[in-house]
Symmetry: D2
Subunit: 111 residues, 4 copies
């Protein structure tokens, strides 16, 4: 168990929040935070979005929202007994087969 997982788990346990941290509720909280992150970008042009970290206030909000998403993702994975990095790496292996380098180069087409 890595450090972040342990920290988030301790945070929840100290507050007796395990009762709220069910898989269903955590999936909702994760999607809710992903929605708040969207809201930071929704009215920006692509150019403004690319430069968002140059703006100290917007940059801090984006970093905080990304932190929120990561906290709930870490907690959900912990509650489900899933290793987050391993889940990402095995999904990446799977996607690599579906999108071979030669055929996928420069194309966003779904397969």
């Amino acid at each position: 168990m890595n450090d972040l997982t342990a920290r988030v788990r301790a945070f929840a346990e100290e507050r007796d929040w395990q009762q709220f941290h069910t898989p269903k509720n955590l999936a909702m909280a994760l999607a809710g935070e992903a929605g708040e992150l969207l809201a930071e970008f929704q009215w920006l042009t692509p150019e403004q979005a690319d430069a968002v970290m140059d703006d100290p206030e917007a940059g801090a909000r984006v970093r905080a929202e990304i932190g929120d998403v990561m906290i709930y993702l870490t907690r959900l994975a912990d509650v489900l007994g899933i290793n987050l990095a391993e889940a990402a790496l095995s999904k990446l292996d799977e996607v690599a087969i579906r999108y071979p380098v030669e055929q996928a180069r420069g194309s966003a087409a779904k397969r």
Copy 2:
């Protein structure tokens, strides 16, 4: 830069997908994957959701969706120059101040 960030970055660069991986697009992809994760839980009772990893098929889908969310979150943080674990830890420190242990114990009330 940790291993997963490097792996995801290489995956995108090999396919010349940097052009698609703008902050705005990646925030959308992240929220879309969070939505697919929701879909795994939406019709389950809380009890069924708690036991989802006991079902090999549903468990594999949940693990894959969590992997997808982590891939896009890692990629978005990389593109924005944000350290994912640090962003989560500093957000956790901030939330710890807003929800002191004594007052937050056992309560989901927002502050």
Copy 3:
């Protein structure tokens, strides 16, 4: 064009917001508001969620969030030239074929 579509369109035009109301941006705003709606329910038990409208404050927030989702959905459909009610009805016809009454009764299984 129904009344709500006209009202939302006039609202945007009076403020010269057509420039922000692109399909991509509106899809993001819609998902962001759907995320805020989720947040109203995420820590509630199923029983508490069922009774949410009995609480004047939470009920008003839920109603406002549903209003927000409807505003952006209406605006997105208008910008794309889609009739919202017709799109829903034709999708319902399609789903009715995929989930025949006899086979779907009482089951949430995906088809």
Copy 4:
């Protein structure tokens, strides 16, 4: 009660799906469908997104996703006893006060 609300309600009742259509589950399904709609736009440039309805296949998918969002939004409002059009109109009145025409013209700044 308008026609769409009645149709969606009958659809659910014929299949004995009221047991799944709790406010919490429907809010999840709504957000999940909003996520699928996002996925239609996430890799498109703003120009490609603006022209999405000119592509018969992508246009049909977008229309179907918008139909799905509208179905769940209609159903959620029905289950909660909320009139969808009224909720949108009263929210629009509220937002009109927060963003007066003269001050909001041409600006996406949050208030």
